[in-house]
Point group: C2
Chain length 206, copies 2
């Protein structure tokens, strides 16, 4: 069984890239399907599950220690529960034994015993802003500054959740097989290039 | 003209990977040739040039400012001169107009107007240690701890020199097209995979 995981910066195009690679390879593709399954299993609203898992759940508070104020971040209990549910869903996907691509959700860490091929997708700030603008739905009313802040917050949430789940840092180059910058690429051609690279990896493991 | 630049962590195998890609593509390959040219142009000893450019040149000193001691790093004048010479050599390589691969030396920054394809090569600590041990010459007498410290110092020197030359950080994922982790790869197969990826990039720019 071959598993590809795709971690990505918000707005980098990682999701589109993953979908295209899945189509090319004929792999199953899991993205929002995971949210739906978590919602179903937990009996919660899918929109609430998505927003808690993806954007929120980390809260700041201040404590005074040794005369100094420290900012502490903690994870809401509800998010911890959803992360446990999400882990189970991802493990059950792998247990199906079929080749697949999983977008985000720390599948690279959760499924490490399956030796997935782990890709991180990034892009520079301007490219991400442009991409978000092109597909804006809920972000439509935001100024560039607000959108950049939102992108940063989402990525910060992803990084924190990863830190919580594993010892490796989100986006840290040594934690992935390949880090791809989508800047300057036509997405279809990039999907070709990444597919070729991943195929070589799986061939070398046969 | 197609230019590929390869930046790399010490011990990651970036040099071998670059050589193999150059062989596959039939590109000219520049690595220690650059040091020889700088030595020739400056009338200095090649070994001195190499050690100044690669490992040393940054020095610490402390200043007191506002009642607090600050550590300041500065670049030796001799290193600045050699960096200028090196830049000229790299620019003259590009001016030849032939497809080439250049290893390290911030060629990605220096030649940015030529739109090179920029690769960063990394590996985890244990893989780099193993690789250094296999090819040890001058490092033979070092303990693992000393070798790790040396690796860290060399990479720190590379990062500082890059900061000095450009606004982007060394190893920062958004500064490269592709970041490749050599861990788990047979180097020949990895060279195939990266070559295929780079070819797709150049095709998409035609």
């Amino acid at each position: 069984m071959k598993i590809i995981t795709i971690s990505r910066e918000f707005g980098s195009g990682g999701r589109e890239l993953g979908k295209r690679i899945a189509d090319k390879l004929g792999f199953d593709y899991y993205d929002s399907e995971i949210i739906s399954a978590v919602a179903k299993n937990s009996g919660m609203d899918a929109h609430y599950v998505e927003s808690t898992l993806d954007n929120h759940g980390w809260q700041d508070f201040s404590i005074t220690f040794g005369g100094t104020i420290h900012s502490v971040e903690y994870l809401q209990a509800s998010k911890i529960e959803l992360l446990v549910q999400q882990r189970k869903v991802i493990e059950s996907i792998a247990a199906l034994g079929k080749d697949c691509i999983i977008i985000g959700r720390n599948a690279d860490v959760i499924l490490k015993d399956y030796h997935p091929f782990n890709i991180f997708v990034c892009a520079d700030k301007d490219a991400k802003l442009k991409r978000c603008r092109e597909r804006a739905r809920e972000e439509e009313h935001l100024t560039d500054r607000e959108l950049l802040r939102k992108m940063k917050e989402i990525d910060r949430g992803r990084a924190h959740t990863r830190d919580f789940l594993s010892g490796t840092a989100w986006g840290d180059r040594e934690a992935y097989h390949l880090i791809v910058n989508t800047g300057g690429w036509d997405m279809k051609k990039l999907a070709d290039a990444v597919t070729g690279f991943a195929e070589k990896w799986f061939e070398s493991k046969e």
